[in-house]
């Protein structure tokens, strides 16, 4: 189930840039819903099975908190529901919060998909020539996150084995986490020094031009993907430039435009955000079919 990740890195990058830019800069409820659904389906199709419950426990409360915060601070809108300390809490602000929460969770899901697909070798391949330093820093910074998590789990286990704060109460667990964190701060400083020393020992930054090897080739399928992705993106941008994708919540909720340009925009972005999921499904169906023939 890695049909999308097997494409050429440039295709992956262009695709993610297209989806994320629309998701973040064209605030329209239909597009946000499409980005959310597409991102969720893709993450569900490619993620580990066991993780799904934990992910839901993170994203669903996050969605509701993000949606609930807006009406507490923004009181514009023609439909007051009730009054909080003399300021109205309005239906418009609530719906605007829901829309922003959908955009936020959608963008987060796509960023998660990005980090799963764009591994550090792909980053180095794409940006190694252009900005060698930046790509090195980026890939080592991104690598630091899983290393940090692994090490903190290791420290936590060691402390538990020594019998420190092994109680089940909430206070004990919080204290334990605090202890682990304080030791992790020291460890990460030390780790940074060690990594830089190791890299110097291997000759990074000594002035010689480094060569690298990678096995990425632009195949016909990649070109089809790239042109499809750019064509859909251009359709969404064209629809956005006509102004039919402008949507306002304040002071009165606008209407979801049903003009030809707007419909084209919804359809194009819906197709764009479902492309990787469709690719995964196609791969899975093909695999089942091949297996059934054996």
């Amino acid at each position: 189930m890695r049909a999308f990740a097997k494409l050429h890195p440039a295709v992956n990058l262009v695709y993610f840039l297209c989806v994320l830019s629309v998701c973040m800069f064209v605030p329209h409820p239909v597009l946000e819903a499409e980005a959310l659904v597409g991102g969720a389906l893709f993450c569900a199709a490619t993620g580990k099975r066991g993780n799904i419950k934990g992910e839901l426990l993170f994203y669903i409360p996050m969605f509701f908190i993000a949606a609930a915060v807006n009406p507490l601070f923004s009181h514009n809108g023609v439909t007051p529901l009730f009054f909080l300390n003399g300021n109205p809490v309005t239906l418009e602000a609530l719906l605007y919060g829901v829309s922003m929460a959908a955009a936020l969770v959608g963008a987060l899901l796509w960023c998660k998909a990005y980090s799963g697909v764009m591994t550090s070798d792909k980053h180095l391949y794409l940006f190694g020539r252009l900005w060698p330093k930046l790509s090195l820093v980026l890939s080592s910074a991104l690598r630091f996150i899983p290393v940090f998590l692994r090490q903190s789990r290791r420290v936590g286990r060691a402390q538990k084995a020594m019998g420190l704060y092994s109680g089940k109460s909430l206070t004990d667990r919080i204290k334990n986490k605090g202890r682990v964190l304080s030791s992790m701060v020291l460890w990460s400083l030390e780790n940074a020094v060690e990594v830089s020393a190791a890299m110097r020992a291997r000759g990074y930054g000594c002035g010689r031009k480094r060569t690298s090897f990678s096995l990425f080739r632009m195949r016909a399928g990649d070109k089809v993907w790239l042109s499809l992705c750019l064509a859909l993106y251009a359709a969404v941008l064209a629809a956005a430039l006509t102004g039919d994708l402008n949507f306002s919540f304040y002071p009165k909720i606008g209407e979801i435009s049903l003009s030809a340009a707007a419909l084209l925009g919804y359809a194009a972005f819906g197709a764009l955000s479902l492309l990787p999921f469709a690719a995964e499904i196609k791969e899975a169906v093909q695999w089942r079919y091949c297996v059934s023939k054996i």
Partner: protein
């Protein structure tokens, strides 16, 4: 579990403080404001709310607000009306009572205890700060003068005339002299 007791007590304390500081009113309750009847011996002030400058800069207005329902064609949101002045009333108190009585939407920020020492009126009648260009917002004048401080610090006297006016040029177009306007 005994160790968790202080933690839970702390959480309960925070929640109690938050609940205590929150005052929830239903829509009807909020608009059901008692306005004192004017009697011959009662002190009164006159209040009006206008947005004429928006009509002069209609092109800058937020497209979502371009409707007679949000910007009245004559620029008058509240015509000059007399209200009874209670002891120690500030401009904000009178405005708050008047908008509630007339069911005009209003959003404000802060309280008298805020770092600015005053309430800031963000929007009246869905017309907000920055709704009509980057220099727009609400200002008030009392007897033709724009005070240098916030509306909840201006204590009113009998017979004063309060005008809330919308400016699109940081006060210059409504005649705030200290902002570089022409005066009245």
């Amino acid at each position: 579990m005994k160790k968790d007791i202080p933690l839970f007590l702390g959480i309960i304390l925070i929640v109690a403080v938050l609940v205590n500081g929150t005052h929830i009113q239903s829509v009807d309750e909020y608009y059901l404001t008692h306005i004192d009847d004017i009697t011959p011996e009662s002190k009164t002030v006159t209040l009006s709310i206008r947005c004429d400058t928006v009509l002069e800069n209609y092109g800058d207005l937020d497209p979502a607000l371009k409707s007679d329902g949000f910007v009245p064609p004559d620029g008058v949101i509240l015509p000059p009306t007399e209200y009874v002045l209670r002891e120690g009333d500030t401009v904000f108190d009178v405005l708050d009572r008047a908008v509630r009585y007339n069911k005009i939407q209003m959003e404000y920020q802060g309280s008298s205890e805020s770092p600015f020492g005053s309430v800031y009126i963000q929007g009246i009648h869905w017309l907000y700060e920055f709704s009509c260009g980057p220099l727009s917002g609400w200002m008030y004048r009392v007897d033709g003068e724009f005070p240098h401080y916030g509306c909840s610090r201006y204590v009113l006297h009998d017979g004063q005339v309060i005008e809330w006016v919308y400016t699109c040029e940081l006060g210059q177009d409504v005649g705030a002299e200290w902002m570089g306007g022409q005066g009245k």
